[in-house]
Amino acid sequence: MFNYFKNSFNFSAFNSSLKANKFKPIFEELNQKYPKGSDPWGLNIRKSIKSLEKIYPFYKHYFKVRVLGKENVEDKAYMVVSNHTGQIAIDGMLISTAFVLEVFPPRILRPMAERFITSIPFIGSWAAQGGAVLGDRQNCINLLKKGQSILVFPEGVKGIAKSTKDYYKLQNFTKGFYRICAKLGVEILPVSVVGAEEFFPYVYQAKYLANIIGIPALPISANFIPLPSPVDIHIGKPIRIPQKISHDSSDAEITKEVKKIENAIEEMLKEGLKKRRPFFANQNLKDK
């Protein structure tokens, strides 16, 4: 186990990737896409690029992220819908990094953040500078209209804050994202993340205590720092909204369509779990 940790973080690679600056063309393209350097939601391209440079060594050498299905992404705005795992939103950060550094053309995804995030000192402004926005319907519509791609986790806190026994079990999706896509005719890009649950492999969710304190979740974990579990990001084929569905369609119709998205991501998860790389903390979970 110790050797695994030692090998998983290669410091020479860490430094060389920064020095080589192989992402210069990508960053130049981002600068061209956002000539003003910022937007009304608080995105700051300069700081975003700095954050990416800091995140990349962890992305590549600590979490060893693999992106599969890049060819499914075209040059247009998507509603990127993913499962949510890992107790803290590292999965969101990794997906966002993948969409800048590994997907063509590069784009800064706009993750929809929980309402309380924006009120946390330092975290709120750091997240906004990196592209995150308050999870609000109006924000989502305005960004999609401006050609920005959105990242949503329709499982919400229920998805990310699971006890070990529930790992990789998809929670019911909320429907708001689907109505927005139906309204604007935006395609849904399903994404599944495999490997993030094992960042914190042994977790108990103290839901009762969380309720008393008034916070959305209170994970009690055996480890405080996320383990270097290898992460696979699977990008599925875009899903179009059927013509018969509008944003005013009944709940029953929307639920049926959302269930299809849920099933598609569940299938991708199952396939992903079969293909995932071995890691000491996922050995007891591999049959799920």
């Binding site: 910022s38 608080g42 009120s119 000192p121 709120g124 906004a128 109006q138 924000n139 305005n142």
Partner: protein, 320 residues
């Protein structure tokens, strides 16, 4: 819609303010046939009487307003006389509530009674409130939530609501416009934001960096003038298209700042107020963004109406 050719007399309330003076000058230069009576309870810093502009210092009582409405036959009322929150003592509070709420009601009733053609009221984007869950962009139909976090802003919200209710109630008798501008800055305006942006060693939050829209005073004056003939009855946000973060704005004005976490600033404010008087709600507005949607107004005045963007406005503020 009112034609400026048919406007002869304008009542401008709040004439001692920089924006009111600028607007009066813009109107009288472009339309020399218009006469403006500017009233204010404050003493002006300069001589305001010019060819077509007359200044009268008076208390905002019903009697005084009745007198001027009887004396002059106003075609238009520009109400820029909302009292700010810079002084927080109890006497100011009573005066402020009387002026902002009762005063505004009196003015509106008199305007209707004396057959004024149009009333333009300057409200503020503060009515929406600076809250962590504000969407970008806030349109005119958004709930006015300022008093949730800042109870002292309740009179600003109430004044806005008095005006909008009155506007819809009397829309067949009189044209009314309520303008909700973003932060107006400029060399002639000494509001809290202009002072904050140009004060050296002012505290700057390190843990929050809200986005801001800044409107140059000249553009605001132009909006007020053009609203007379181009904008129909309704509520309109006023803001340029671009935004800038608070830290970048301070950097642009090239004044040194003292980085302070917000929780410390909230405590330190009690001491700072002995040196620099600023409204309590201001801390909230340098913590969370309140970005307004300008599409409703742009439909009437055009897409490229504003002469200065936020960065240019800040440059001009720095040069002052």
């Amino acid at each position: 819609m009112v034609d400026l050719k048919n406007i002869n007399n304008i009542l401008l309330i709040g004439m001692a303010g920089g924006l009111a003076q600028l607007t009066a000058n813009l109107i009288t230069i472009k339309h020399p046939h218009i006469k403006i009576l500017g009233v204010d309870s404050r003493k002006p810093t300069t001589d305001l009487d010019k060819n077509n502009i007359e200044f009268r210092r008076m208390r905002y009582t019903r009697g005084n307003f009745e007198k001027v409405f009887r004396e002059y036959k106003f075609d238009l009322v520009l109400h820029l006389g909302r009292m700010s929150h810079a002084n927080n003592d109890n006497a100011s509070l009573i005066k402020r509530l009387d002026l902002n709420l009762m005063g505004t009601s009196r003015i509106l009733d008199l305007a209707l009674k004396h057959n004024v053609k149009k009333v333009i009221i300057l409200s503020t984007y503060h009515v929406y409130g600076a809250l962590h869950d504000n969407p970008v962009f806030i349109d005119e139909n958004h709930p006015l939530r300022a008093s949730i976090r800042c109870p002292e802003l309740r009179d600003v919200v109430e004044m806005d609501q008095i005006c909008t209710n009155w506007m819809w109630k009397n829309k067949n008798e009189i044209e009314t416009i309520v303008l909700r501008p973003c932060s107006i800055i400029g060399p002639q305006i000494r509001n809290t934001m202009s002072q904050y942006l140009t004060t050296p060693y002012a505290p700057l939050p390190v843990d929050f960096n809200p986005m801001f829209q800044f409107l140059h005073e000249f553009d605001m004056g132009q909006v007020l003038m053009e609203s007379i003939s181009k904008v129909p009855t309704g509520i309109y946000n006023v803001a340029p298209d671009d935004v800038i973060s608070l830290k970048d704005a301070r950097r642009k004005t090239e004044v040194p700042s003292i980085p302070v976490p917000i929780f410390m600033l909230e405590q330190a404010a009690k001491v700072i107020k002995f040196i620099w008087s600023f409204p309590d709600y201001f801390i909230n507005y340098i913590k969370f963004s309140c970005i307004i949607d300008n599409n409703a107004l742009k439909k009437h005045i055009g897409d490229d109406f504003f002469r200065f963007n936020a960065r240019e406005s800040l440059e001009l503020l720095k040069m002052d």
